[in-house]
Symmetry: C2
Subunit: 197 residues, 2 copies
């Protein structure tokens, strides 16, 4: 298997990250063992260490990977003809989507974020991902104030912080079984409307 990696190192790296996400979404990040991830990805532990250096390097990369897969990053792609309000609303509601990949991604993000409470080394990574997410949503909100679809009294950045925190809180409640996904989406939709209109 290791020999393949010389031909397609990015595919191997990706396979390891997908395996890590699958295991984290099943059992959490606390008990995650590097050997298990390697086995799930069909690579040897040395190859895993070649790509990620350490367990915490792997967890950091898994966080980065989850953030790149986040549904609301669709906002970063070229404009779709939607007004700013519709773009923000669609993107944020997609974070509570009915799709295995969305759920798995949300669990990975929630788990790594919750682990950062006990592993301060992860804090700066979690902070960076949040800030980048916030900047994306904030830009889309500005687009909405420019095209007249959004009316807010506070700064776009502050409103974006509130909205992504709300998405994050609702995801936690949904994933922990404390609220139904449909109810979470209703609450989010109502809040987006009241906050952005």
């Amino acid at each position: 298997m290791e020999d393949d990696s010389r031909d397609a190192p990015l595919d191997r790296r990706e396979a390891i990250l997908i395996a890590a996400a699958r295991l984290i979404s099943k059992r959490g990040v606390r008990g995650l063992r590097v050997e298990e991830v390697a086995s799930e990805a069909g690579v040897s532990p040395p190859l895993l260490y070649y790509h990620f250096a350490s367990r915490s390097g792997l967890i950091r990369a898994a966080l980065e990977h989850a953030s790149e897969q986040a549904p609301s990053l669709a906002l970063r792609r070229s404009p779709t003809g939607k007004d700013g309000y519709t773009a923000v609303r669609t993107a944020l509601l997609a974070e509570l989507g009915d799709d295995r990949a969305v759920r798995e991604n949300a669990v990975v993000w929630g788990e790594i974020s919750a682990s950062a409470v006990f592993e301060p080394d992860l804090s700066s990574d979690v902070r960076r991902v949040f800030e980048s997410w916030c900047a994306t949503v904030s830009e889309a909100i500005e687009r909405g104030t420019d095209d007249g679809s959004i009316t807010i009294s506070a700064e776009p950045d502050e409103v974006a912080q509130i909205l992504i925190t709300l998405v994050d809180g609702l995801c936690t409640r949904w994933l922990s079984g404390a609220i139904d996904r449909e109810r979470a989406r209703e609450l989010l939709g109502g809040a987006i409307e009241r906050i952005l209109r």
Copy 2:
């Protein structure tokens, strides 16, 4: 030590719950060992099992205990002369208080809630605590609409859901080091003002 328990069973029970909260807030709930909690509380494991039956019974009781200690439950005490708006605002901001006990309590709640993703047995407990918290905040919001200090277009229960989810999300970000506590309080204060006025 066990003999003391016959004289003051509630004190022993409380001591075990305090020890559990201390250990969960230090290292999380996933690695929590019953023997360690017993030792931290200065009781024997059999006495712990006498009170809580099982590890998951102990975790459930720790969640209940944390919810009883939540700063915003001050709302349940007899009216303090504050208007509804001030009462809600004060209570919710207190969840982001600069106090070791508040922080410890928030970590316990966040940890058990995050664990419920992987331990569905905990879901109904997490849901119940959320619903009870929501009902408390919702009643205070109604008091505010009655006394004219709060103006909302949605139902009090829906607004309460949004506010407590926001508090919860900001707590997670604060505890994981992704946002400063002071910034989290500013964001929450601004959101409360815009949502309730």
